[in-house]
Amino acid sequence: MIRKVRKHIVQNEPLIFERSSPGKNGCQLPALDVPLVDPAAALGAQNVRGEIEGFPEVSEVDVIRHFTRLSTWNYAIDLGMYPLGSCTMKYNPRVNELVARLEGLAWAHPYQPEALSQGALRIMQRLAGALLEITGMDAITLQPAAGAHGELTGILLVRALLESRGNPRKKILIPDSAHGTNPATAAIAGYAVENIRSNDQGLIDLEALCKSVTDDVAALMVTNPNTLGVFEENIVKAVEILHAKGALVYMDGANMNALVGIARPGDFGIDVMHLNLHKTFSTPHGGGGPGGGPVAVKQILEPFLPIPCLKSSGDSLTLDYDRPQSIGKVRAFYGNFGVLVRALAYILAHGGDGLRNATVDAVMNANYIRHKLAPYFDLPYPRPNMHEVVFSDDFQSKLGVRTGDIAKRLIDYGFHPYTVSFPLIVHGALMIEPTETESKQELDLFIEAMIDICGEIEKTPELVTQAPHDVRTTRVDEVAAARKPVLRWKP
């Protein structure tokens, strides 16, 4: 029985261009206090454009109505749980939004004199210190703009270190359970990718790893816990194997929500890793970004960090560009400062114990779901899981229903789908991560929904295979969208 949602009428709304009316405008400028300059005279007529054809012309109330109506068509954390595995869709605290907008922080220009920017620099330093304590690493850069960007930075650091030793090497080893950004990153960093097969427990196969680690291998990219939510129990041995051959180990920090306060990557031998501030540290996803991907390293990689680095100079902070071995810059300026502020606010709110408690709750919630759903869904890898659990659609596919269909039916029950068909090592995967945010009530609603859907699969499978039904927008024809792409509005 569907308990989380009930039908309601939702506003229609055209595209903003279809709302336009000539002469309307939503923003008024103050009168000029200097003489008006004629563009053609100042720039040359050939440099001045004609009108911006098709650009919207609407009033402020049009703008408010337009975007408010559109927003009601979205699901969001504020409306309920996202069971998305490896996304860590936890609550986005609102105090974060307030502090990020404080004038002194929001309006700071990256080139303003350091003496007038100590507040910003101190925030960066405080966050850096906290993240180093959490990860057990020695040094950190806050520059990368997102997880994948952090991955690239990390691999470039590896390359720089190996180059300084005389040979950058050729290959990066990546488990077949890895997120797609890992091999894409390796390629952009100029490395070839070699896949490592997981063993029958879904973990890194040490024997296979041993064979694959040659003098051509620069690094292993590992996610821990892995994309099955399972801790790589042989991680210390795996690290030893890599280090023995002069290679390094990179950890994708996407699943840190299982480790904060419990175990530290630096302690189990990781040389370099990235963090996802928009996952573990509560900064909002905003519909797809912005994120933040700080990269923490062991001392051996410190000289190569992107410039500038934060340095103490007396009792003030300064940005140090004098770093001859640095890999350079991976983006302009210093990082997604606004995102860093939010992450620090989250850390301050929780404190050391609070962060650990969050991890414990996250792992407990995932295990509660596992325990309740295990009678209904196939668990391909029965090892203990941490903050997420991966089922397969094996039982249901025998009745002609796949993970993608179950996910769509979940929408009718008022939830966002879990992660479908990933990781690739599980056929028909259902990857579920509740996070610590969810109360027992929300978890129970989710569990009940999943169990009800299993019942529907037996009795009325079309209800599931044709889902969702009760939404404003039903399944979108992605084939047509790809065959004949229409990527912009035209009059």
């Binding site: 992605e478 084939v479 790809a482 065959r483």
Partner: protein, 128 residues
């Protein structure tokens, strides 16, 4: 599905039809079925070289990409331009209208290594 007897087949699910020195190459019905609705085909330019065992292009569905491997070596003398605007032909007629490229082969040895229609039929029966 009927796999034409006058074609040869590869383990990567391509078919080849030989006419003198020219090989016409496409993907099999099994391949298009595995891919689902095909949205795009990436083909090489006429005049490029094909090499046996190396990819010459790819076929895309919404959620997956498959590389296509050439079974023979030679110069690509013709490509099927119609697939640019109608990739769905690969789903409806993979063995006929939706041929991909034509290659002027350097030799005939490579063809001899491929499977016959009945061998391929057994191969895909075993795979699924």
């Amino acid at each position: 599905m009927n796999y034409p007897a006058d074609f040869s087949y590869t383990k990567e699910h391509e078919w080849v039809k030989v006419d003198g020195n020219t090989a016409t190459i496409g993907i099999t019905d099994h391949a298009q079925h595995e891919l689902g609705d095909i949205v795009y085909v990436d083909l090489p330019k006429v005049g490029a070289n094909a090499e046996a065992g190396t990819t010459f292009g790819s076929v895309e569905s919404v959620k997956a990409v498959s590389d296509i491997f050439s079974p023979v070596t030679g110069e690509i003398v013709e490509i099927n331009e119609s697939l640019a605007s109608a990739p769905e032909k690969l789903n409806s007629d993979p063995h006929g209208e939706a041929w991909l490229i034509r290659v002027r082969m350097t030799g005939h040895e490579e063809i001899k290594q491929l499977m016959t229609a009945s061998e391929y039929q057994e191969y895909v029966g075993a795979e699924s």
